[in-house]
């Protein structure tokens, strides 16, 4: 079995300008790449015959509100042939808030990116169906997994109308 670090080195050779950092923690390797290269790196990992990262594990996002490039988008992919997994991520600022969608590379990214959009409000360029997925379509309070969103919500729930409990049926005394 090849070492997964070889994959990172391969990426560094292929995209010398765009691989910003390679970190390893507890055996998990993650590669930070420039936002503009996301789609190329994804295609390269999937389609290069000896890499062949064909299985998409998850797409996540992390919010760092104090940093200039606020959002981090995380993709994790696995290669059935190599039996290895690798994580690649990119950063985007709040003003920009858009990255390329990888749903054309891995079909599963479609739903996973929709969830990221729903929860953090990062838009995916080229996504076929970018709508909310877990929150209601008409939800207007923002994006609940951002760090500045309060745990209790912003009050929308308190405006719900509740149905009055039905009055107890009046039964005639003789019928009891």
């Amino acid at each position: 079995m090849n070492d997964v670090r070889a994959v990172a080195e391969r990426l560094q050779r292929q995209f010398p300008q765009d691989v910003l950092a390679v970190t390893e923690f507890r055996g998990d390797l993650s590669v930070m790449i420039r936002k503009t290269a996301l789609l190329q790196v994804g295609r390269f990992l999937k389609e290069e015959p000896d890499l062949n990262f064909d299985y998409i594990v998850h797409v996540s996002s992390v919010d760092y509100p104090t940093e200039p490039e606020r959002f981090e988008i995380v993709y994790e992919v696995y290669s059935i042939r190599r039996r290895q997994r690798i994580r690649f991520k990119t950063r985007v600022s709040e003003a920009d808030g858009e990255v390329d969608s990888l749903s054309s590379v891995w079909y599963g990214a479609n739903f996973m990116e929709r969830e990221v959009y729903d929860m953090m409000g990062i838009r995916f360029h080229g996504h076929p169906d970018l709508r909310r997925i877990l929150m209601p379509d008409e939800y207007e309070e923002g994006f609940p997994l951002r760090k500045d969103f309060p745990l209790q919500g912003k009050g929308w729930r308190d405006t719900f109308e509740f149905l009055e409990p039905p009055a107890a049926p009046s039964v005639p005394r003789e019928a009891r």
């Binding site: 998990d28 079909y107 599963g108």
Partner: protein
């Protein structure tokens, strides 16, 4: 609804257009409406196993497009995780896939142990493996019963729930709860097996393979079952991988991907068992994979019970592991540790990890980002049910409306995990 044969592509001769052009049509009858119809199915349909809505675009009885609408059970579990300590999140994981709480606990505590690099004593690893595999049997029995019931075979449901009850009662004796168990702890498990529990489980494991056969002989060559499952919801290995499917749904397509085998954890590396693989990627193959997995689970549990090592069932790591209750009530130091761990949590190193565990539905993963404090900075749950529904449209197109129920069932979706 009528039973449908194996189909792959919409057949225009069956779409209802032929009937109106034939000369046999009586002129006094109104024309059949032939435009596409949109049908809302759910969220309270009994076969959706929870609250899931499907918007189906239909041409006659054929499905042209299926759009899942979910989120009816969204509780914001990932947000809640950021506001509690690592210990406090364990009961929340029970409520993800609420029919198989043990495996959710297991997947979560493994992820935290990877983050803090904590070694678990060997006895705890074996206890964990045994309980996880009994949970897998429960999950597959539950799936088999409900899938057969949805398709119309009622007896199987009673057989599987009878056996499931035995194991749920066993859980009850082990930890005091049948479904929301919270038995796994960071660093080990909550309590040890008693000799009675081991005896009961050994007896069950001896008898269970015959009971699988009992259920299976009702279905394996049943003509209705074959007609309703063979060639339904076919997905190729390549597409299944690209959609991120996992577990029996992926192995039914013949992809050899089982984390228990290829990234062995707990005691899975020490025992002998094999990974059953399907061939055609249809509903029948996925059913066969699950039946075989139950037999493999029996093998794993039997071997683990035979080799169960002695020793502690919780790691000796007082900065992380909660002290035992009898010490908390008798010594001051343990009381202080307990208080500190519950109010502040334990310190974790900065970093991020992903840890996937092979639950019975698929790869249940936790992606945890830690900022060094006592609670997760970000916790993302990779829920197999959610990801499987992403492939629903792809797998349902071209089939009849009666097959929708089968296709739902074949993923083994639980909405508590899907919506989080």
């Amino acid at each position: 609804m009528t039973a449908t044969g194996p189909t792959t592509l919409p057949d225009p001769s069956l779409s209802g257009r032929q009937g109106q052009t034939g000369s046999a049509r009586r002129p006094d009858l109104p024309l059949l409406r032939t435009e596409e119809m949109m049908l809302n199915m759910g969220p309270q349909h009994p076969a959706t196993h929870g609250v899931l809505k499907m918007i189906l675009d239909l041409e006659g009885e054929r499905i042209v497009k299926a759009t899942p609408v979910m989120g009816f059970l969204h509780r914001g579990v990932e947000k809640l995780a950021e506001h509690g300590t690592y210990h406090q999140f364990i009961p929340h994981t029970d409520r993800l896939d609420y029919v198989c709480a043990m495996y959710n606990n297991f997947a979560y505590v493994r992820a935290v142990e990877k983050l803090i690099d904590l070694k678990v004593p060997p006895r705890a690893e074996y206890l964990r493996t045994i309980v996880a595999e009994t949970q897998r049997i429960i999950g597959h029995l539950f799936w088999l019963g409900t899938q057969a019931l949805d398709i119309g075979a009622m007896t199987v449901f009673f057989y599987t729930f009878r056996d499931r009850e035995i194991l749920l009662d066993w859980f009850n004796e082990l930890c005091g709860a049948r479904l929301t168990t919270t038995w796994y702890r960071i660093g080990g498990v909550e309590r040890d097996f008693t000799p009675e529990l081991i005896a009961k489980l050994s007896k069950f494991i001896e008898e269970f393979p015959a009971k699988i056969d009992e259920c299976n002989q009702l279905l394996e060559k049943n003509r209705i079952w074959l007609a309703r499952t063979q060639g339904i919801a076919v997905i190729s290995a390549e597409d299944a991988l690209s959609f991120g499917l996992s577990g029996p749904t992926l192995r039914g397509s013949g992809v050899d991907y089982d984390l228990r085998k290829y990234e062995p954890y707990a005691a899975y590396g020490d025992v002998e068992w094999s990974v059953p693989l399907g061939r055609n990627g249809d509903t029948y193959d996925r059913y066969w994979v699950r039946i075989e997995e139950m037999r493999e689970s029996c093998k794993i549990v039997r071997q683990c019970l035979e080799r169960l090592p002695d020793g502690p069932y919780l790691a000796d790591a007082p900065t992380v592991v909660l002290p035992s209750k009898d010490k908390v009530f008798t010594t001051l130091e343990s009381m202080i540790i307990q208080f500190k761990l519950y109010t502040q949590g334990f310190k974790t190193p900065r970093g991020e990890i992903y840890c996937g565990t092979e639950a019975h539905k698929g790869e249940l993963g936790f992606y945890i980002v830690s900022d060094g404090s006592g609670h997760p900075y970000r916790l993302k749950i990779r829920a197999p049910s959610f990801i499987h529904l992403g492939a629903f449209d792809h797998m349902a197109r071209g089939y009849m409306i009666a097959d929708i129920i089968t296709i739902f069932g074949t993923y083994d979706v639980v909405m508590g995990e899907c919506d989080r």
